[in-house]
């Protein structure tokens, strides 16, 4: 049997849980041994489940270890990693949970679970993102009044902006550290900003308008364009800009041309 044929048969048996062990791979009795082959099958699955458990610790706490493992097992059997680069494996698990939310809930109210998972995924992405130095308040202060409107903002590569339909960011925060998690007092959607100015990931709930403002800026709008698009005369550009800088979201200030 050729090398390719042997490995193909092994791989096929590995990924089909009810298939018999491959004929050419033997235990000590000169014949295939299901238990021995199961070690490999088990390693594959357990390893991938472990990655999901590490990536979604709060989601796991919310549904409990056993239920999480069952969800993870389903996901793993349908989603094989396409690359040995495992830093991104499981990034679409939140959508997987969302698609099955009625099964997942089983009588409990867990509609916030996919949002919590989305935030956890964003946290991991921020954690591994490229490093960049962050802009300072001083750089904004240094701009003249002429320059400010046409100024564009370069965001730090770790920034993630999420519009959540549920108060998932507050729920996530209440699961951090040793505190006993509590339900948020207001059951409303939240806009979340994830940043990582240095090594530590930060999660903030954004005030109204900040999400749309930040999104416009990140898409290349100037400060004036982004502010006007909000169509709200009460919008305080200075305060929002300072908030973004203090969060460590901004890597570069690109001043507009003076007229």
């Amino acid at each position: 049997m050729s090398f390719e044929t042997t490995i193909r048969a092994f791989a096929a048996a590995l990924t089909a849980p009810s298939a018999p062990p491959p004929a050419m791979a033997h235990g000590r009795m000169g014949a295939p041994d299901a238990r021995r082959f199961a070690v490999y099958r088990n390693n594959v699955t357990v390893g991938l489940i472990g990655s999901l458990e590490a990536r979604y610790p709060v989601s796991r706490r919310i549904v409990g270890d056993d239920f999480f493992r069952a969800m993870a097992r389903l996901y793993v059997s349908a989603h094989r990693p396409r690359s040995p680069l495992m830093v991104a494996y499981g990034d679409d698990f939140p959508n997987f949970i969302d698609a099955r939310i009625s099964e997942v809930q089983a009588g409990r109210n867990l509609d916030y679970l996919p949002d919590v998972a989305r935030l956890e995924n964003a946290w991991v992405e921020a954690y591994h993102a490229e490093d960049a130095l962050v802009a300072t308040i001083g750089e904004i202060v240094a701009l003249s009044a002429d320059q400010l409107p046409e100024t564009r903002i370069g965001f730090h590569p770790a920034v993630r902006l999420l519009r959540l339909a549920t108060p998932a960011a507050s729920i996530w925060s209440s699961h951090q550290g040793d505190a006993v998690p509590s339900a948020p007092s207001d059951w409303i959607g939240e806009d979340a900003l994830v940043t990582r100015p240095d090594c530590d990931v930060r999660v903030r709930v954004l005030p109204p308008l900040a999400y749309d403002f930040s999104l416009s800026l990140r898409e290349g709008a100037t400060l004036i364009e982004a502010a006007l698009a909000l169509n709200d005369p009460a919008f305080d550009l200075g305060t929002h800009l300072v908030g973004l800088i203090e969060s460590g979201a901004i890597a570069s200030i690109l001043p507009g041309r003076t007229s």
Partner: protein, 296 residues
């Protein structure tokens, strides 16, 4: 007779004992500055774009030599190597300048799907040629020699025509690579296939060995009721493996040795005490060799 280790690896002298670097131990390491030969990491954990993992490893690297241990290159695959992944490995090696780079005699990727385990291959004329080609490619891409690790296996292939020790010897001969002798893997495979681990070690091409791994394993049984050892890396090294290590070190001379404890990672002092035990074995082995030399 001590088999001299003719391979010199930059930055690591013979009596060098290391442990796997785990992020949860970072504070303890930085605070206590333990005397250790090196730290070893899985290359794939340092292939992100930035952030804490790379920063922490920079800090470790400033203080200690590093050994880079790849798990995802799938050198034992029939198909071509994942060139993108090889480039990623080369980039990590370039950034951290490890004293040692190693990978496994195993496959993990098949037809674009990464199977996230170290899977076994048959030992034939075709596979020895294929694996040697892959190692040539890796060493060229890295601009240095690598160490190839002997596997722990739960199955053997009916079509194998080479003994594993001969297979590894031939690969080292063809490619000039070194070998990473995982003594626990020898023990695990010996129990699983019913051979004598001392026999395997006597046949092993010790002159090619550049590093030794020691790890814990877990007991199970197969369908025939025969003992099955799992290469679990989740417990202290067991007595039988320490014995094999002592015998090997006496023959090989002091050799960089890693305590490999990747799962159920213990508190820092426990891991460190395993390293100290390996150091004592090296010292004892050297002493016994000198004793015998005196007698002669």
């Amino acid at each position: 007779m001590t088999v001299a280790n003719h391979r010199s690896f930059k930055g690591l002298t013979g009596p060098s004992v290391g442990v796997g670097f785990k992020p949860e131990h970072f504070e303890a390491i930085v605070d206590t500055r333990p005397e250790l030969g090196f730290f070893e990491v899985h290359a794939e954990n340092y292939m992100g774009a930035g952030g804490a993992p790379l920063r922490r490893l920079d800090a470790i690297r400033e203080r200690y030599p590093l050994s880079l241990h790849g798990v995802g290159l799938s050198i034992g695959s029939p198909g071509p190597l994942d060139r993108a992944h090889l480039q990623r490995l080369a980039a990590v090696a370039k950034r951290f300048e490890p004293a040692l780079v190693s990978e496994h005699l195993a496959w993990s990727t098949h037809e674009g799907a990464f199977l996230n385990d170290l899977l076994p291959l048959p030992y034939t004329d075709e596979t020895v040629a294929r694996v040697s080609e892959h190692i040539d490619e890796v060493q060229t891409a890295l601009g240095r020699t690598m160490l190839l690790e002997n596997p722990s296996t739960y199955v053997v292939f009916a079509e194998s025509t080479w003994a594993e020790t001969d297979f590894l010897r031939e690969i080292a001969r063809r490619t000039g690579c070194g070998l990473l002798l995982d003594v626990s893997n020898v023990f695990v495979s010996a129990v699983n296939h019913g051979f004598n681990p001392n026999r395997y070690l006597a046949d092993f091409p010790l002159s090619a060995v550049g590093e030794i791994h020691l790890a814990g394993c877990a007991d199970e049984t197969d369908d025939a009721g025969l003992p099955l050892l799992i290469d679990a890396h989740n417990s202290p090294v067991r007595g039988a493996v320490w014995s094999l290590y002592s015998t090997t070190i006496r023959r090989l001379g002091p050799t960089p040795t890693l305590i490999e404890w990747d799962n159920d990672v213990p508190a820092w002092p426990t891991l460190l005490s395993e390293a100290r035990r390996a150091e004592r074995a090296i010292v004892d082995g050297t002493a016994k060799t000198l004793e015998r030399a005196d007698v002669l």
